[in-house]
Amino acid sequence: MLHGLWRLTWLEVKIFVREPLGVVGTVGVPVVVFIALGRMFGHAGGEMPRAVTVDLPILAAMILVLSAVLSLVTIVSIYREGGILKRLRATPLRPHTILTAHVLVKLLFTAVTLAAMALAGRRYYPVAPDVPIASFALALFVSTVSIISIGFLIASAVPTARFAQPIGTLILYPMLGLSGLFVPVAAMPPALQVLARVLPLTYAVALLRGIWHGDGWLRHAGDLAALAIIFAVCTAVSAKVFRWE
């Protein structure tokens, strides 16, 4: 049912663009914030947190991915509450086609935003010529898909659209704090280490950081495997517990 998938994805892109605040919030705000931060810190140099100087691209990418997943959770909840998911399901469309279309829309806008940020931020954060952009993009894609699978678990659990945003925020953003981006996982208390080890963001950050700094894919086989397992488990569980209405 590929035909239906592309058609539905394209339609959802058009519908998203018609939402007055949708594009501004998704693409515009992150780019503007990024430039503002660049202006503030860009020329100062020196005493900045490691996360801002060294891992800025990774931090930015992760925040974008998390907000994309959050907006995916929200839109799925809204569509479910409005009976739109149910109406689409009462057609020859396969259930996973309907959800995949939304994932594709979010991936597309995340990619557009990242590209815009990279272009706009060139002056303040010059990317070294030896950074493997293509590999980084691929690693980001793999990470995003894995994190989105957690999004579907959250979407299955939230009772109504009104709760989607706060509950999603509560679950998704703390993952960032535990991801090892700010504090190395090894330096955390043991309990938090255990938690960090089951969250996809930890592996995503390790993978992205490594790839950005020129590591080979083989060195991160463990991270890739972890992301794949998280994806497989979350997708399998969501397929069982996902509610269409």
């Binding site: 339609l11 959802e12 519908i15 009976g83 109406r87 399901r89 009462a90 057609t91 020859p92 469309l93």
Partner: protein, 306 residues
């Protein structure tokens, strides 16, 4: 195959937790008829219909639609049925035309969407966003989406709920039009007037169980056979003569207005005969039949309105 019912539901049961929504429901729907599931909100109409459409699986019992099992052959079945869901929405900012084109692209042999929109009076709204449509326009769009694949069976769930009387009548006309094109229609409603006007046969559902199935007229004859005649006359002897009519159950009079109640098909003709025999001068005369509403009250012991 000709005598085979289009829909056959056999002893289905569906519970949500400890609440039994549908309990031992069975019925057949035949080729070309408008069949109605009627009952109050929460009676199990929608659950029953969604089991038949393949959107839910019954806990037990068997369903066949066009010879297929809706739960197992959901995708093959979707090609041949059209569905309108209760309280469904579409994306707020999808246009009428986009919705129809998307739906058309999903089916093997779709109708011409443009013509369908013309027939449903939506052609002027083809570029309007869903969120800007009125309730009646939304329902007409959902009818368009239900018809786009030229289905053999059309399911309509609470089609006119929330519409004003004028929009409701317009929708009824559309449903008759679907029926006239030879489609089988299965609908649910809690409006007894809608059921009486549209349905060839109805199944009365209450608390998850089917109470009776027949044509509206047969249900009324069977369960509420009383007839009411209301007439006005100044003749002082009228009351005496009317009370003498065989089968007359009650005669009430209030300043020259008589309300007569009795059973039997020929109560009206006997009343007319009586008035003619005694040359009673009548200034007003009308009859009231029981409605499905009365039938429902009688069968379930409670009113359909809650």
């Amino acid at each position: 195959m000709a005598d085979q019912p289009v829909i056959r539901v056999a002893a289905i049961r569906k519970a949500y937790g400890r609440t039994v929504a549908v309990d031992d429901v069975s019925f057949d729907v035949h080729q070309g008829e408008i069949f109605g599931l009627i009952g109050p909100n929460g009676a199990g109409k929608t659950t029953t219909m969604e089991c038949v459409e393949g959107l839910r699986s019954p806990d037990s019992g068997r369903i066949a639609v066009l010879g297929m099992d809706p739960a197992r052959d959901a995708y093959a079945l979707q090609q041949r049925i059209g569905v309108q869901l209760q309280e469904a929405q579409l994306q707020k900012r999808i246009t009428v035309r986009e919705a129809v084109e998307l739906w058309a692209s999903l089916y093997r042999a779709p109708l011409d969407g443009q013509r369908l929109l013309e027939q449903l009076g939506l052609i002027d709204k083809r570029n309007a966003w869903f969120m800007t449509l009125s309730g009646g326009q939304k329902q007409r769009l959902f009818i368009a989406l239900a018809l786009i694949n030229d289905p053999e069976v059309v399911f309509l769930d609470e089609l006119t709920t929330g519409l004003d009387p004028q929009a409701r009548r317009a929708i009824w006309e559309l449903v008759r039009g679907i029926h006239d094109r030879g489609k089988t229609v299965c609908l649910t409603t809690h409006l007894m007037e809608e059921a009486e006007r549209l349905c060839d046969r109805v199944a009365i559902i209450d608390r998850g169980r089917i109470v009776d199935i027949a044509t509206p007229a047969a249900l009324i004859r069977r369960h509420a056979p009383e007839q009411t005649v209301i007439l006005a006359t100044a003749d002082p002897l009228a009351g005496e003569w009317l009370r003498a009519i065989p089968g007359m159950a009650s005669v009430a009079e209030q300043s020259g207005r008589f309300t007569l109640r009795g059973a039997g098909e020929d109560l009206v003709s006997r009343t007319i005969q009586c008035l003619a025999d005694h040359r009673v001068m009548v200034t007003d005369f009308r009859t009231e039949r029981a409605t499905l509403e009365d039938v429902f009250l009688k069968l379930t012991g409670h009113s359909i309105r809650n």
